[in-house]
Symmetry: C2
Subunit: 444 residues, 2 copies
């Protein structure tokens, strides 16, 4: 149920069990979410980090259905989907997480988050359109607004986006714009807590902050956004004028959790037993970002490796239960985690002990992510793309596929009516800009 | 003006001329249109056949503006864009072509054409959603409707789409679906004229038809579509029930041509002088698919090589004009053209003489298209993708990124309410399909 890291792993590990598996997902692809920020920042194409679920589960005891799960009826043992219901004997819920705007759902229109391919395309287009708008905008103050990017939340997603944006504006793109100095773009990373990447040791947070600042990111910790509209954000009494605001802050469990009618934690996740099933319902398991589980007093983190371990474990417990044996408690093994800051810079913790940073951490991050990227073809393609990006510093997956006039009100002002000018046959141009025409009109 | 093959070539060849060039395009990327059908059929990602215009023209005497050209005012010498006007001394119009539905603009909602990246994504999603719907549909008659694909028009685009769809359904995907035999999908190619690819010699048309039929395409020439809705098409009195109809037929010049107020041909293209300028306006050139020009009694074809030659020539004429010299007439050199039918199968004509077909033509097509693909990175990535697709027959860029319930009315019927069933503890399943549950309910 749900073909993220957890659900897919569970389905794969049930391959040889005497069961019939149905995977229900509202998309037809498994998404390699840890690389989604590279789609949003024009390094990779969506198809390069997504694999059709059907391809992955081909030829095994699994039916794949494209449908949106809406609620669970524990009494009748059915999963209610858009368009109908699916009966289950055993249910594995792996519906993941969505954005949380801390009680301000209206902010979602101004500050898109990054969870799906459409999110990534949306963010990519917003960034690119802002740069195009800056190029067309003659008023320096308004140009600055288009060149100011605010990222709210300095967790891994916020840090990755901020680092990539700073690198992109400083190193990849400046030469391509003629009227605006893209390298002067401001990238602000706002975080309510006292430090960035707060799940990492303090020393690594400090290093990440330094690396971000070296890239050109303005990091502001202990800073809560109090208001937001399409012209910027407010931090208490301070106003930051910015036409592009991105959301890397709150994460909330899928609303599917609420329909279970069982105890949830503060983030809306289902409090599961150590065996990963819902209290009182041995036939309903919850894994991945949707599950809330304490281990040695610490929560199991909402990251891909934890979801995969849970998926594998739940498959084991389902088999044990079929054999009439007692289920085993899940034990999360923290092999490590990484956060990327930019080209050649990352931080990481291995086996809850070893701390790595800088180029070493970045190389390890690269290797690990290539290893886990699903599907042979994607790996080769991503490797080529990364090698190219690393060698040339270019970011070429820059697609604006529609015009969004609603996003670009100032364009209406930046293209002035050009008065007919006396013919200057010798100064023919293709098609604009007349020789000697130096008025401050923006399109000359 | 317009960053297709013609406009981009003109801008590049003016690099060293004493002029200031402005390229206006409503998208920020140059699109390698000959490979667009591979995006529509899940082989390539959009980013792999598109290059940012800014990257291509970086560091030269060119300003790139993201804006939609709306009309030309020949008297005032301005190009009117969404949001303002741009004055010109010399104008090069290279706005290309769009779809023509032969007087039935309402058909565009049922049968999308293939000109832009959004078109390709739309077609890809329609094909994939149709296969998902077929997998969920229990009624055999309705399943057949989802598995029937009609392509209207057997020009290069229609033939490429039909061939790719037939190959995809017969060889790439069948193993991935459990309830439906995707290899039974019908692919119909309808053409009003007596033969497919009618711009090619009759012998090659025949070969293309045979190759298409061998792939499984039902080719029907001399067949005019007379009506269309979201359930299929009518051909005279005959009704073809099909949930997916694609448009590869008419091409019409950009509506920009009409705003010039000069003579147009029947397809709405501007009749240009042999020097490529508009009659009576030596400062306005029209190139590419927007230009209508007869050479030795035959029209210069609306294909990429012709547009590129025109772009190059117009740059030359602009330079000659600046130097006060007479402009030279354009002479199209037909180096050849190809149409792909499927894996290992194509037809082509070289230098208006040599006819090639089969694997040889296909290999030449591959090599030529790789050579002309803009940008080093794209070439490497496309090569990897093609090698992968060729070796594995897989098509993995299969993204459905949104749910489109409006397209899937039958889904509402296919997911029945499952009545509560007596507990069968031993036959636990994950999560659906109970052992021994063999009623014709579709989700069991």
């Amino acid at each position: 149920m749900g073909a993220g890291f957890g659900g897919l792993q569970a389905a794969q590990k049930l391959k040889k069990a005497p069961v019939d598996v149905t995977v229900v997902d509202r998309y037809n692809h498994h998404l390699f979410q840890p690389l989604l920020y590279q789609v949003a920042t024009a390094v990779l194409s969506p198809g390069e980090i997504a694999t059709p679920i059907r391809s992955v589960l081909k030829g095994q005891n699994t039916t794949v259905l494209l449908a949106e799960a809406q609620s669970v009826d524990l009494q009748r043992k059915v999963l209610v989907c858009g368009g109908g219901e699916i009966a289950y004997d055993t249910l594995v819920l792996a519906a993941g997480a969505t954005h949380s705007y801390f009680g301000h759902p209206e902010w979602s229109q101004f500050a898109p988050g990054l969870k799906t391919i459409d999110d990534a395309r949306n963010i990519r287009e917003r960034i690119l359109v802002a740069l195009e708008a800056a190029e067309r905008e003659p008023d320096p103050a308004r140009q600055r607004e288009w060149l100011t990017f605010v990222i709210v939340g300095a967790g891994p997603t916020g840090v990755e986006l901020a680092g990539a944006l700073a690198y992109m504006t400083r190193h990849s793109l400046p030469k391509e714009y003629r009227r605006v100095d893209v390298s002067k773009a401001r990238v602000l990373l706002l975080e309510g807590l006292p430090r960035v990447l707060n799940t990492y040791p303090e020393e690594l947070s400090e290093r990440a902050r330094r690396d971000l600042e070296n890239l050109g990111v303005e990091v502001r910790t202990g800073t809560m956004v109090t208001a937001m509209d399409d012209m910027g954000v407010s931090v208490g009494d301070t106003r930051i004028a910015a036409r592009t605001v991105l959301w890397g802050a709150g994460v909330a469990a899928s609303p599917l959790a609420r329909t279970l009618g069982v105890p949830l934690d503060r983030a809306g996740r289902v409090k599961v037993e150590p065996t990963l099933h819902v209290p009182g319902h041995e036939d309903v398991f919850v894994i991945g970002d949707l599950a809330s589980l304490l281990q040695d007093g610490k929560p199991v983190p909402g990251i891909a490796p934890a979801a995969m371990q849970m998926g594998k474990h739940v498959a084991k417990n389902i088999r044990l239960r079929l054999e009439g044996k007692p289920m085993e408690p899940f034990h999360y093994v923290d092999k490590g985690s990484f956060a990327v800051i930019g080209r050649g810079s990352a931080i990481g913790v291995l086996f809850d002990k070893v701390r790595v940073r800088g180029f070493l951490a970045w190389s390890m991050w690269l290797g690990i992510h290539l290893t886990f990227l699903v599907g042979f073809r994607n790996k080769a393609v991503v490797l080529v793309q990364w090698a190219y990006t690393y060698l040339t510093r270019r970011r070429d997956v820059r697609l604006i596929t529609g015009l969004h006039p609603q996003k670009l009100p100032s364009m209406q002002r930046t293209l002035p009516t050009v008065p007919p000018v006396a013919k200057e046959e010798d100064a023919a141009a293709f098609p604009v800009r007349r020789a000697g025409d130096n008025e401050p009109a923006p399109l000359h």
